[in-house]
């Protein structure tokens, strides 16, 4: 892991500089509808540093998720787990556009978002394996990854709840005038639960700096979202209910995600209120470790694999003239980090039983009586 801190520092640095450029762009009015990003062959608004930060983030997620799957096959991952293979670009794009002190909130399918904010790989893998080195010391499990130090304010396993909670964080930013943004990731299925509606309305009325990001991967658990939703775009077609513009983007294109995030953050920081963004994407594996994904029509996965955000971005980098050895070098470097994190996690002991009796209360204890 010797290279990791530096790598993270580098990525964070570029994230910050890109965030700075988003600050500059505050002056521009937020466009009503974000157009599909057009790839220009010349270098462009995103720039090489940020592209490499995006690439690293995509790779970190991809390799950690694949490793999580391997570890599951080795029976080392306990409980359930929900991989984000195929959805990396949403996490990478948003996190790279965030400032370090922005807050993000996600679901049980949250490895990618937690990693993308800078949480350590062994923190994620260790938690999945129920080890002491886990982000939550094994107390939360795979569905609750959190790293407050990195602004990753929790993974929430009951559908809907974290939308109003993310809104609450945005209230702090507004009240304290800190310029922070709160970003909330959730699935297509989540748009049909009551908390979605309440959070969107109140955020809009209070003009809070919160960005709601729907990762539309076409399915709730095993049921296609179209079978249970009255509109075609579960988030996009509902934006108008909250006085918001419809924004539906290609969630497998890290650049498009990044640009959309920048625009939404600029709007939020300018005091112009929330955004609701639907990212079209697809999960390559089943809903959770137990699910082979049989309910998918034949050919669907294959079609989406052609739009896999990772090879797609590899090509993008090449198109922008980034040297192949830089591209591949980063890949190898990240893989080495994942190997190292795997070893750290395997070597980490199960959490001590003394952990059971701490941290219900702020005083560190669990006593409900004197």
């Amino acid at each position: 892991m010797a290279t990791k801190p530096k790598a993270v520092a580098k990525r964070k640095a570029s994230a910050t500089s890109s965030a700075k450029s988003s600050v500059k762009s505050r002056a521009k009015a937020a466009p009503k509808r974000v157009a599909k990003a057009k790839v220009s062959r010349a270098n462009d608004d995103i720039g090489e540093d940020t592209r490499l930060a995006l690439w690293r983030s995509l790779l970190e997620i991809r390799h950690v998720e694949q490793r999580a799957y391997d570890l599951f096959l080795q029976n080392l991952v306990k409980g359930t787990s929900h991989l984000a293979l195929g959805q990396e670009a949403v996490a990478a794009g948003f996190a790279t556009a965030m400032q370090k002190d922005d807050w993000s909130f996600c679901t049980y399918r949250g490895h990618h978002h937690t990693l993308a904010r800078g949480a350590s790989m062994e923190g994620v893998l260790g938690e999945l394996m129920g080890r002491e080195c886990g982000l939550l010391k094994g107390k939360g499990g795979s569905m609750h990854l959190t790293s407050v130090e990195h602004g990753a304010m929790g993974s929430y396993a009951i559908i809907g709840a974290h939308l109003p909670i993310a809104m609450g964080a945005a209230w702090t930013a507004q009240y304290k005038k800190t310029g922070q943004v709160s970003v909330c990731f959730f699935g297509d299925g989540t748009t049909n639960i009551g908390a979605f509606h309440e959070a969107l309305n109140m955020s809009a009325v209070w003009k809070l700096p919160v960005v709601f990001v729907c990762e539309n991967n076409l399915y709730m658990e095993y049921t296609p979202i179209k079978d249970v939703t009255a509109v075609h775009n579960p988030a996009g077609d509902r934006a108008a209910s909250y006085g918001l513009p419809k924004i539906v983007i290609d969630g497998n294109d890290a650049d498009e995600v990044y640009r959309t995030a920048q625009t939404a953050f600029a709007k939020a920081r300018a005091g112009e209120g929330p955004s609701l963004i639907e990212c079209l994407t697809y999960r390559h594996s089943g809903h959770s470790r137990a699910d082979p994904g049989d309910y998918r029509p034949p050919g669907e996965l294959e079609a989406w694999l052609k739009k896999d955000p990772v090879p797609r971005y590899r090509e993008r980098l090449a198109e922008f003239g980034i040297a192949q050895d830089v591209i591949d070098g980063m890949d190898a470097e990240v893989l080495a980090q994942v190997d190292e994190a795997t070893e750290i996690s395997k070597a980490s002991p199960p959490p001590g039983l003394d952990l059971i009796d701490v941290d219900v209360w702020a005083d560190g204890g669990t006593a409900w009586r004197n």
């Binding site: 306990k78 609750h144 049921t223 249970v228 959490p351 059971i356």
Partner: protein, 325 residues
């Protein structure tokens, strides 16, 4: 007698009742085409079709609202809430609407419905997918509350719940889904409000529910084999109606009560039984009432932590040996 798993018994009970009565319908998330996330409803969609076995959006209030509205107008719905923890997102419909409708309307409304849900810990799912919340339901006047511990009880009690004219909260303990047991062939309908004495012993009465029942039984064998302590084991099965006759009788016989509860300590069903005992058969008691529960904390996820937290057979043995002379 066929050997069935606990999860298979769920589907068998529902199928039995749906064959018998066209008004029985079933709804929930991923219950149909997918057969349920715990595979407890496999085959129903195929046999009864999408009109009677309905997949829903992630809208628990709508699911239970649909159950309530259809129950009061002539159907007999069974609604699944995937994990019992999720009852919190639709608790208003359960506690304020379904439970109160008949009484508040002076008896005008009927509410023949069942809410099935997967309850409890042991799967390393963490604090939001592992709670034992049968006491949430027991607290609310107007709900019947059932929690079976074996495949045969699942089938018989679920069938009884579906036929019952009142709303029944049916807690399936998810750690029990894989267990196997013999289930009588043919139509099986048990009776709500009846506890079962699973073992007879003169020294102490262990009162347990759901996944704690096999653990209590294991502890009782151990107590007998290793410590010469003979325990009666009562499986409560139904918290409302509560079979106080059987429970009080069995406690009076031994003079000692130990409850084994999977829920966190405060206001668990064991507290209620303890308070009934301390009132009604106080003079029959030969010593303190012991409650063995999960400590009053959110359930931790890692296997070592979770196992150390939930009541185990060893802990039951230890506490009884230490406390019962």
């Amino acid at each position: 007698m066929a050997e069935l798993t606990y999860r298979e018994a769920v589907a068998e009970a529902i199928a039995q009742e749906m064959r018998r009565d066209e008004d029985v319908v079933f709804l929930g998330e991923d219950i149909g085409a997918a057969g349920g996330v715990f595979k407890a409803t496999v085959g129903l969609f195929k046999e009864f079709g999408p009109e009677r076995v309905r997949d829903t959006p992630i809208s628990e209030q709508a699911i239970l609202g649909a159950a309530m509205g259809s129950a009061m107008t002539g159907l007999k719905p069974i609604a699944e809430i995937m994990f019992s923890d999720f009852l919190a997102v639709c608790w208003d419909i359960v506690a304020n609407e379904i439970a109160k409708a008949r009484y508040m309307t002076g008896g005008q409304m009927s509410m023949p419905l069942v809410i099935r849900t997967a309850n409890g810990g042991g799967s390393r799912f963490g604090a939001q997918h592992s709670q034992s919340v049968e006491n949430w339901a027991m607290m609310i006047p107007g709900l019947k509350v059932v929690a079976p511990s074996s495949p045969a009880d699942v089938k018989g009690l679920l069938a009884a719940a579906i036929r019952d004219p009142d709303p029944v909260m049916f807690f399936e303990q998810k750690s029990l889904y894989p267990i196997k047991g013999f289930v009588p062939d043919g139509e099986l309908v048990d009776e709500l409000g009846t506890a079962k004495v699973l073992r007879d012993g003169g020294d102490v009465t262990i009162v347990a529910l759901a996944a704690m029942v096999p653990r209590a039984m294991k502890a009782a064998e151990e107590l007998s084999a290793q410590h010469g302590i003979e325990a009666t084991v009562v499986d409560v099965r139904s918290l409302v109606p509560l079979d106080t006759q059987t429970i009080l009788r069995e406690i009076s016989k031994t003079g000692r009560l130990v409850t084994v509860e999977e829920n966190p300590r405060l206001c668990g069903w064991g507290a209620e039984i303890a308070s009934i005992v301390a009132d009604e058969i106080f003079w029959d008691l030969d010593g303190p009432i012991i409650r063995i529960t999960t400590p009053h904390i959110p359930l931790p996820a890692a296997d070592a932590l979770e196992d150390a937290t939930m009541p185990s057979a060893e802990r039951i043995v230890r506490e009884i040996v230490e406390n019962i002379d």
